[in-house]
Symmetry: C2
Subunit: 118 residues, 2 copies
Amino acid sequence: MRIPILKLRQYLLISVQVELDDQTALRFQEDLLNKIHSEGSIGVVIDLTSVDMIDSFIAKVLGDVVDMSGLMGAKVVLTGIQPAVAITLIDMGIKLQDVRTALDLEQGLEKLQLELEG
Amino acid sequence: MRIPILKLRQYLLISVQVELDDQTALRFQEDLLNKIHSEGSIGVVIDLTSVDMIDSFIAKVLGDVVDMSGLMGAKVVLTGIQPAVAITLIDMGIKLQDVRTALDLEQGLEKLQLELEG
Protein backbone atom coordinates (compact mmCIF):
# COMPACT_ATOMS: atom_id res chain seq x y z
CA MET A 1 0.00 0.00 0.00
CA ARG A 2 1.37 3.41 -1.00
CA ILE A 3 0.59 6.65 0.78
CA PRO A 4 -0.19 9.35 -1.80
CA ILE A 5 2.04 12.41 -1.81
CA LEU A 6 0.54 15.61 -3.21
CA LYS A 7 2.65 18.40 -4.64
CA LEU A 8 1.44 21.95 -4.06
CA ARG A 9 3.85 24.60 -5.27
CA GLN A 10 7.13 24.05 -3.38
CA TYR A 11 5.44 21.90 -0.76
CA LEU A 12 4.45 18.29 -0.43
CA LEU A 13 1.25 17.37 1.40
CA ILE A 14 0.61 13.95 2.87
CA SER A 15 -2.46 12.81 4.70
CA VAL A 16 -1.92 9.40 6.26
CA GLN A 17 -5.29 7.69 6.04
CA VAL A 18 -4.23 4.05 6.16
CA GLU A 19 -2.98 1.97 9.03
CA LEU A 20 0.77 2.49 9.26
CA ASP A 21 2.32 -0.95 9.30
CA ASP A 22 6.11 -1.24 9.18
CA GLN A 23 6.35 -1.88 5.45
CA THR A 24 3.98 0.95 4.53
CA ALA A 25 5.93 3.34 6.75
CA LEU A 26 9.28 2.41 5.21
CA ARG A 27 7.90 2.63 1.69
CA PHE A 28 6.47 6.04 2.54
CA GLN A 29 9.86 7.15 3.84
CA GLU A 30 11.51 6.16 0.56
CA ASP A 31 8.74 7.64 -1.61
CA LEU A 32 8.82 10.94 0.26
CA LEU A 33 12.59 11.36 0.02
CA ASN A 34 12.49 10.55 -3.71
CA LYS A 35 9.69 13.05 -4.21
CA ILE A 36 11.53 15.78 -2.31
CA HIS A 37 14.50 15.12 -4.58
CA SER A 38 12.55 15.02 -7.85
CA GLU A 39 10.31 18.01 -7.10
CA GLY A 40 12.84 20.15 -5.28
CA SER A 41 10.40 20.66 -2.41
CA ILE A 42 11.33 22.96 0.46
CA GLY A 43 8.60 21.96 2.88
CA VAL A 44 6.49 18.94 3.79
CA VAL A 45 3.29 18.64 5.83
CA ILE A 46 2.44 15.17 7.12
CA ASP A 47 -1.08 15.04 8.50
CA LEU A 48 -1.73 12.28 11.05
CA THR A 49 -5.36 13.17 11.86
CA SER A 50 -6.57 9.73 10.81
CA VAL A 51 -3.86 7.82 12.67
CA ASP A 52 -5.30 6.29 15.85
CA MET A 53 -2.29 4.37 17.04
CA ILE A 54 1.43 4.49 16.73
CA ASP A 55 4.15 2.14 17.94
CA SER A 56 7.81 2.73 18.66
CA PHE A 57 8.94 1.55 15.22
CA ILE A 58 6.56 3.87 13.36
CA ALA A 59 7.50 6.72 15.69
CA LYS A 60 11.16 6.13 14.87
CA VAL A 61 10.47 6.03 11.13
CA LEU A 62 8.56 9.32 11.38
CA GLY A 63 11.37 10.92 13.37
CA ASP A 64 13.88 9.64 10.82
CA VAL A 65 11.80 11.01 7.93
CA VAL A 66 11.92 14.45 9.51
CA ASP A 67 15.70 14.28 9.99
CA MET A 68 16.35 12.87 6.50
CA SER A 69 14.14 15.47 4.86
CA GLY A 70 16.00 18.14 6.82
CA LEU A 71 19.31 16.87 5.46
CA MET A 72 17.88 17.18 1.97
CA GLY A 73 16.79 20.76 2.65
CA ALA A 74 13.08 20.29 3.29
CA LYS A 75 11.36 21.27 6.54
CA VAL A 76 8.69 18.92 7.85
CA VAL A 77 5.65 19.74 9.98
CA LEU A 78 3.61 16.95 11.56
CA THR A 79 -0.04 17.85 12.03
CA GLY A 80 -3.18 16.45 13.59
CA ILE A 81 -1.50 14.25 16.21
CA GLN A 82 -4.39 12.74 18.18
CA PRO A 83 -4.49 12.80 21.98
CA ALA A 84 -4.05 9.02 22.19
CA VAL A 85 -1.05 9.16 19.88
CA ALA A 86 0.52 12.00 21.86
CA ILE A 87 0.00 10.03 25.09
CA THR A 88 1.53 6.89 23.59
CA LEU A 89 4.54 8.77 22.28
CA ILE A 90 5.31 10.45 25.59
CA ASP A 91 4.63 7.21 27.52
CA MET A 92 7.16 5.48 25.30
CA GLY A 93 9.64 8.25 25.99
CA ILE A 94 9.59 9.38 22.37
CA LYS A 95 9.60 13.15 22.21
CA LEU A 96 10.07 13.73 18.48
CA GLN A 97 12.41 16.49 19.54
CA ASP A 98 12.85 19.49 17.29
CA VAL A 99 9.94 18.31 15.19
CA ARG A 100 7.55 21.06 14.18
CA THR A 101 3.90 20.30 14.82
CA ALA A 102 0.60 22.02 14.13
CA LEU A 103 -3.09 21.38 14.67
CA ASP A 104 -4.11 20.60 11.11
CA LEU A 105 -2.91 20.51 7.51
CA GLU A 106 -3.88 24.11 6.96
CA GLN A 107 -2.01 25.46 9.98
CA GLY A 108 0.95 23.25 9.15
CA LEU A 109 1.14 24.76 5.68
CA GLU A 110 0.84 28.27 7.12
CA LYS A 111 3.63 27.52 9.59
CA LEU A 112 5.91 26.41 6.76
CA GLN A 113 5.04 29.41 4.62
CA LEU A 114 5.77 31.76 7.51
CA GLU A 115 9.12 30.10 8.22
CA LEU A 116 10.23 29.69 4.64
CA GLU A 117 8.72 32.66 2.87
CA GLY A 118 8.63 35.10 5.77
CA MET B 1 -8.92 0.63 -0.82
CA ARG B 2 -9.82 4.19 0.11
CA ILE B 3 -8.60 7.28 -1.72
CA PRO B 4 -7.45 9.90 0.81
CA ILE B 5 -9.24 13.24 0.75
CA LEU B 6 -7.30 16.22 2.09
CA LYS B 7 -9.00 19.32 3.44
CA LEU B 8 -7.31 22.65 2.81
CA ARG B 9 -9.34 25.62 3.95
CA GLN B 10 -12.66 25.50 2.05
CA TYR B 11 -11.28 23.10 -0.51
CA LEU B 12 -10.80 19.36 -0.77
CA LEU B 13 -7.77 17.96 -2.56
CA ILE B 14 -7.60 14.46 -3.94
CA SER B 15 -4.72 12.87 -5.76
CA VAL B 16 -5.72 9.53 -7.23
CA GLN B 17 -2.62 7.36 -6.98
CA VAL B 18 -4.18 3.92 -7.04
CA GLU B 19 -5.71 2.00 -9.88
CA LEU B 20 -9.34 3.02 -10.11
CA ASP B 21 -11.37 -0.17 -10.09
CA ASP B 22 -15.16 0.08 -9.99
CA GLN B 23 -15.49 -0.45 -6.25
CA THR B 24 -12.75 2.04 -5.37
CA ALA B 25 -14.34 4.63 -7.64
CA LEU B 26 -17.80 4.21 -6.10
CA ARG B 27 -16.42 4.32 -2.59
CA PHE B 28 -14.51 7.47 -3.48
CA GLN B 29 -17.70 9.00 -4.83
CA GLU B 30 -19.49 8.32 -1.55
CA ASP B 31 -16.54 9.45 0.61
CA LEU B 32 -16.16 12.69 -1.32
CA LEU B 33 -19.84 13.64 -1.13
CA ASN B 34 -19.86 12.90 2.62
CA LYS B 35 -16.73 14.99 3.10
CA ILE B 36 -18.17 17.92 1.12
CA HIS B 37 -21.21 17.72 3.39
CA SER B 38 -19.31 17.41 6.67
CA GLU B 39 -16.66 20.04 5.88
CA GLY B 40 -18.86 22.48 4.00
CA SER B 41 -16.37 22.59 1.14
CA ILE B 42 -16.96 24.94 -1.78
CA GLY B 43 -14.39 23.50 -4.16
CA VAL B 44 -12.73 20.20 -5.01
CA VAL B 45 -9.59 19.41 -7.02
CA ILE B 46 -9.23 15.83 -8.24
CA ASP B 47 -5.76 15.18 -9.61
CA LEU B 48 -5.49 12.31 -12.08
CA THR B 49 -1.78 12.66 -12.90
CA SER B 50 -1.06 9.11 -11.77
CA VAL B 51 -4.01 7.56 -13.61
CA ASP B 52 -2.80 5.79 -16.75
CA MET B 53 -6.02 4.27 -17.90
CA ILE B 54 -9.69 4.91 -17.61
CA ASP B 55 -12.71 2.95 -18.80
CA SER B 56 -16.26 4.03 -19.57
CA PHE B 57 -17.54 3.10 -16.09
CA ILE B 58 -14.87 5.10 -14.27
CA ALA B 59 -15.39 8.01 -16.66
CA LYS B 60 -19.11 7.94 -15.85
CA VAL B 61 -18.43 7.83 -12.10
CA LEU B 62 -16.09 10.81 -12.41
CA GLY B 63 -18.64 12.74 -14.45
CA ASP B 64 -21.30 11.88 -11.88
CA VAL B 65 -19.07 13.02 -9.01
CA VAL B 66 -18.70 16.40 -10.68
CA ASP B 67 -22.47 16.75 -11.17
CA MET B 68 -23.32 15.52 -7.66
CA SER B 69 -20.77 17.83 -6.04
CA GLY B 70 -22.23 20.68 -8.08
CA LEU B 71 -25.70 19.92 -6.72
CA MET B 72 -24.23 20.11 -3.22
CA GLY B 73 -22.67 23.48 -3.98
CA ALA B 74 -19.05 22.48 -4.56
CA LYS B 75 -17.20 23.14 -7.82
CA VAL B 76 -14.89 20.41 -9.07
CA VAL B 77 -11.77 20.74 -11.20
CA LEU B 78 -10.13 17.66 -12.73
CA THR B 79 -6.38 18.03 -13.20
CA GLY B 80 -3.47 16.16 -14.72
CA ILE B 81 -5.42 14.16 -17.29
CA GLN B 82 -2.77 12.22 -19.20
CA PRO B 83 -2.64 12.19 -23.01
CA ALA B 84 -3.57 8.49 -23.15
CA VAL B 85 -6.55 9.10 -20.85
CA ALA B 86 -7.70 12.10 -22.90
CA ILE B 87 -7.42 10.00 -26.09
CA THR B 88 -9.37 7.12 -24.56
CA LEU B 89 -12.11 9.42 -23.30
CA ILE B 90 -12.64 11.13 -26.66
CA ASP B 91 -12.38 7.80 -28.52
CA MET B 92 -15.14 6.46 -26.30
CA GLY B 93 -17.21 9.54 -27.07
CA ILE B 94 -17.04 10.71 -23.46
CA LYS B 95 -16.52 14.45 -23.34
CA LEU B 96 -16.92 15.19 -19.63
CA GLN B 97 -18.86 18.22 -20.78
CA ASP B 98 -18.89 21.31 -18.60
CA VAL B 99 -16.19 19.79 -16.43
CA ARG B 100 -13.45 22.22 -15.45
CA THR B 101 -9.95 20.95 -16.06
CA ALA B 102 -6.44 22.22 -15.38
CA LEU B 103 -2.88 21.06 -15.91
CA ASP B 104 -1.99 20.21 -12.33
CA LEU B 105 -3.19 20.37 -8.73
CA GLU B 106 -1.73 23.82 -8.26
CA GLN B 107 -3.38 25.35 -11.31
CA GLY B 108 -6.62 23.59 -10.43
CA LEU B 109 -6.60 25.17 -7.00
CA GLU B 110 -5.81 28.58 -8.50
CA LYS B 111 -8.68 28.18 -10.96
CA LEU B 112 -11.10 27.45 -8.12
CA GLN B 113 -9.80 30.34 -6.04
CA LEU B 114 -10.21 32.71 -8.99
CA GLU B 115 -13.75 31.53 -9.66
CA LEU B 116 -14.91 31.34 -6.09
CA GLU B 117 -13.00 34.12 -4.37
CA GLY B 118 -12.57 36.46 -7.36
